[in-house]
Amino acid sequence: MGSYNIRLELELKDTPGQLLMALEPIARFGGNIRGIYHERERKEVDSLPVVFLFELEDLKNLSRIKTALEDKGIKVIKFLKDAEIFKKIVLLIGHVFATNILDTLDRIMACGVRVREVYAMINRPEDPSTVKLFIEADEQKKLDITMEELEKICEEKNLMLIKS
């Protein structure tokens, strides 16, 4: 199952505690907050628009979040959802850099996916390093193809592949 990026714009009263009150239903229904920003330039006398960016796995929860916010007296100005995103985290263990990590990343992205983040933990040059990749795709099939390609790459480069 994939997940969705949601952009939710709310009208919050400019008083303490409002932000927390708005966050609670988002978190309760599985929203993973990626960012929050105020639009102070559009501020009214006693309220201001606030944009919440979050990921949501189950789209059914979006209407639950809206209802819960409205029950708390928070006005939902608008919301936008992106197309579904499919994600995978993988770990590569071994001589990931010495075996040309740029080539590895190019070959992954040639499968039509995005490598959103790369984390590496490197020891002495002779020791294996560990790399974590966040891979995103707009179709599950592209992720499946990528995993097959990664298996090939890891076999060629003698790396250990750990998939989620």
């Binding site: 993988v90 933990m121 294996p128 560990t130 250990m160 750990i162 989620s164």
Partner: protein, 347 residues
């Protein structure tokens, strides 16, 4: 009251665990199931204890004697392989050590038992990995039962859950942590932030891992169990039996401490997972959400069945240990006898 005459082959941790459980459950078995278990013989590699009475051996004396060779019923150099066909018995309980190479000596014992009209209960994976199809066919031809609940997941009722309790569902895939030793090592790497080598040493000191740990940590044990699960639960009657060399196996040896840390940042844990999915058989490290029911800690085992009607069902329990495995062996004996009594009544 039904008398159940048993030949036990194997007098190690599991064999002794089984005998202890037979003593402990003696009155329970009589009262609840009407079964009176007699151990007519116990075989070791260098001889056996053979009863000369109808009531079987005095089990307590076998378990308490310091030098087994001094036991009055001890017969030196007698072989289970030769004696099984000659002896009168209902069930042969085969609990010799697992040998995935050629399945022996267990394979020979099971063949002899089935051919000579005895039901078999075993927790020994070796014969099932090496000769699954042959043994199933042999049992069918001889109208005998071959039960092996203790061979996978120790005390966890894996096969009876699939066979008895999920009858209405078609099981589509199986995924599980099938080896307690690797799970202990990986769990310690997470909880104590220690490298693989230290966690392995700890497992060896605590007796969870052998001096040569390759059988566990290289995934051979888990792969053997996966083969038995696949052939028993996933295989349809018209399909062929899968073989050991069809399983892709990856060790946990090269998992770094850094990998464990990087996984933890995203609430994931690395587990050694055996899976049979969409025709692919694999044993190897996998990232699981910490909240996954499969992601059990310490020496625990877990198995998830995915089925068409019942959805996903996960069972968790101790996957090894003399007493735990003995519980599975005893359950198999009760199951077989209930079936025998039912068949008798129907005729």
């Amino acid at each position: 009251m039904a008398d159940v005459r048993i030949i036990l082959v194997g007098f190690g941790t599991v064999g002794k665990g089984f005998l202890n459980v037979v003593i402990e459950k003696k009155s329970f078995l009589k009262e609840i199931y009407g079964l009176n278990l007699h151990i007519n013989a116990v075989f070791k590699s260098d001889g056996g204890f053979i009863s000369n009475t109808n009531t079987g051996l005095d089990i307590q004396s076998l378990l308490s004697i310091k030098d087994y060779k001094e036991h009055p019923q001890w017969v030196k150099d007698v072989k289970a392989y030769d004696k099984i066909p000659e002896m009168e018995a209902d069930i042969v309980v085969e609990l010799t050590p697992t040998n995935i190479g050629d399945g022996e000596p267990g394979l020979g014992h099971i063949r002899q038992a089935l051919k000579s009209g005895k039901d078999v209960v075993t927790a020994n994976k070796g014969p099932l990995v090496v000769a699954f199809q042959e043994l199933i066919t042999l049992a069918e031809e001889n109208k005998r039962f071959l039960h092996y609940e203790g061979a996978v997941g120790g005390a966890i009722p894996v096969f009876s859950l699939a066979r008895e309790n999920l009858k209405s569902s078609k099981i589509i895939s199986i995924e599980g942590i099938l080896n307690g030793t690797t799970n202990f090592i990986l769990s310690r790497m997470v909880s104590e932030k220690i490298p693989f080598e230290i966690a392995l040493k700890e497992a060896q000191e605590l007796g969870y891992a052998e001096r040569d740990p390759s059988y566990d940590i290289d995934g051979i044990d888990a792969a053997g169990k996966l083969l038995i699960l696949t052939n028993t639960i996933l295989r349809r009657p018209e399909e062929r039996f899968v073989k050991f060399d069809e399983i892709k196996i990856e060790s946990i040896r090269n998992i770094t401490q850094e990998a464990v840390e990087l996984a933890e940042e995203n609430n994931l844990v690395i587990k050694h997972v055996a899976s049979a999915k969409e025709g692919k058989l694999e044993v190897g490290p996998k990232l699981l959400p910490k909240t996954s029911p499969l992601a059990v800690s310490s020496t625990l085992n877990s198995i998830t069945f995915k089925s068409d009607l019942a959805g996903e069902i996960t069972i968790i329990g101790e996957g090894a240990g003399g007493r735990e495995t003995a519980s599975a062996v005893l359950t198999d004996i009760i199951t077989i006898f209930k079936k025998r009594i039912k068949t008798k009544n129907n005729n």
